[in-house]
């Protein structure tokens, strides 16, 4: 099972003086169970691409298949099927805490399940488990107003609100933006655990190439609405032409490794994590002695 993008193009405000092509001819397969990163600088078409993944917008040409169902259904029956398929994809927008609106944390997280028309017991069960997944103590937080929480906690509540829909695929647009180092670390750990233990397929946008190397098994690089690369991050980031064309900086750890290589240290090209560099240096040091 997978999300399949077939030659997807999208044009904003078609046939007006403000017409702008945001995506052109994107084809890619995002396998269930994968951890996929999307990289590209602001204006590269990332947000537009994300919105195709749960049918918020439909391609101007081409199609998006979700577990073999076209997300743009024609006719009533097909549309119903498309809608059900799109529900498999949970969408966490940038700064998701800004979508909170209910009086209590519990009610806000219940908003999604309630829209699905589930029973009260099922809703409560889902709210509880979603909060657990996001490390929010159910008893302590359920009756608290979401607006009385800290920024990091609000974000957890917002993500729990999406998880309560029990999506197979979770799409996150810069999930750690604006958090402090501790908040970033904690949220990244939570997302990794969702993938590893709950087997949720993760698709995330990040400007942090080090995070992409650490977390993702594949990275999809966009520039000017075109697909530049779709491969494991270690492979993509070794190719300086791709980064340059996409206007991206290589991971910090890669830059450090490069600096050391230039001084004659034998550090392998795929070393793009802090710990890879540490172990390479240790190996060299011990050999030297």
């Amino acid at each position: 099972m997978a999300i399949v993008l077939q030659d997807v193009s999208y044009t904003y405000m078609a046939n007006t003086p403000l017409e702008r092509q945001a995506l052109s001819g994107i084809s890619a397969v995002i396998q269930e169970g994968s951890f996929t990163a999307i990289a590209g600088h602001t204006g590269s078409g990332k947000s537009t691409l994300l919105q195709h993944l749960n049918g918020l917008i439909h391609p101007t040409s081409g199609q998006v298949l979700m577990d073999e169902v076209n997300l743009q259904g024609k006719g009533k029956a097909e549309r119903r099927r498309a809608k059900a398929a799109a529900r498999q994809v949970g969408m966490v927008f940038q700064y998701p805490e800004q979508q909170l609106f209910e009086e209590t944390v519990e009610k806000d997280i219940a908003f999604g399940p309630r829209n699905l028309g589930l029973s009260e017991e099922e809703i409560e069960e889902r709210v509880q488990s979603a909060m657990e997944l996001m490390h929010l103590d159910y008893k302590a937080f359920k009756d608290v107003s979401p607006f009385a929480l800290s920024g990091g906690q609000m974000r957890r509540v917002a993500i729990a609100g999406v998880l309560a829909l029990r999506p197979k695929y979770l799409v996150l647009d810069e999930p750690t933006a604006g958090l402090d180092p501790r908040g970033r670390r904690k949220l990244t750990e939570t997302i990794t655990r969702l993938h590893r233990e709950e087997h949720v397929t993760i698709i995330f946008v990040s400007h942090n190439m080090d995070d992409i190397v650490r977390l993702a098994d594949r990275v999809l690089v966009l520039a000017h609405g075109k697909l530049l690369a779709y491969a494991p991050p270690q492979e993509v980031f070794q190719d300086s032409r791709i980064l340059e064309e996409a206007g991206l900086q290589p991971p910090e750890a890669f830059k450090l490794a490069d600096e050391l290589r230039q001084a004659g240290f034998d550090i392998p090209a795929h070393a793009m994590l802090e710990e890879d560099i540490v172990s390479s240096i240790l190996r060299l040091y011990r050999q030297g002695r």
Partner: protein, 272 residues
Amino acid sequence: MLSDITIGQFFPGDTFLHRLDPRTKLIALIFLMVAIFVFHTFGVYTALTVFTLALVFASKVPFGMILRSLKPLLWILLFTFFIHVFSTPGESLLHLWRFDATLEGIERGAFISLRLILLIVLASLLTFTTSPLKLTDAMEALLSPLKRFGVPAHELAMMMTIALRFVPTLIEETDRIMKAQESRGADFSEGSLMARIRAVIPVLVPLFLSAFRRADDLALAMEARCYHGGEGRTQMKALSFHRLDGLAFVFTALFLIILTISSGQLGGVLWG
């Protein structure tokens, strides 16, 4: 949908319409609007339409943009048209249930619709060719004689400036929040009236909260930049009338006088 709203958008350029003092444009607009309302003859409407089209052409604003500014009001236009078609007494052309479409009605409906279209096009021409800041400066200048009667001219103008500045931001924000709630299963397009009203709450609450947050931030930023009301304030681009403005005034005045005389409605204009 939301992106269709073009009223209040500035379309930068360097035509004579762009260069006119905003006060000139505002005053001329007011007079033209009055003219549109008081005159009823076919000749005057033709002249006003030609005049408006000439201005559109001179502004170099793409015709598509002008049409888009009419789009949000399409339903109101159609509604007004058909109301008049069916409610004006006269020779019946078509009988529908208890109503008659009349020739007089069509004529009247067309006139009223044209009147509305001219109003909208002229008003959007003003906003297309005038930067919002200049527009509010003009408003402030024209209102300032009323300050002595307690009208807060500066504050009103500042509110306008900020409202205009945040229109695009809030439109984007609404779009984003709607999509976020849609992704959580909210449905804005189906269900009973009550269900739809309820569906709006998850959008309105975050939108209001965000607007308040923005207002707070903005107030702080303005304070940090020494804003303390209109007292002792100067302006980088102080408004000043030029020859062009004089010409525009004379031309508009002549145009309106000719309209008045040629319409033979002189009495009507003077006596209401």
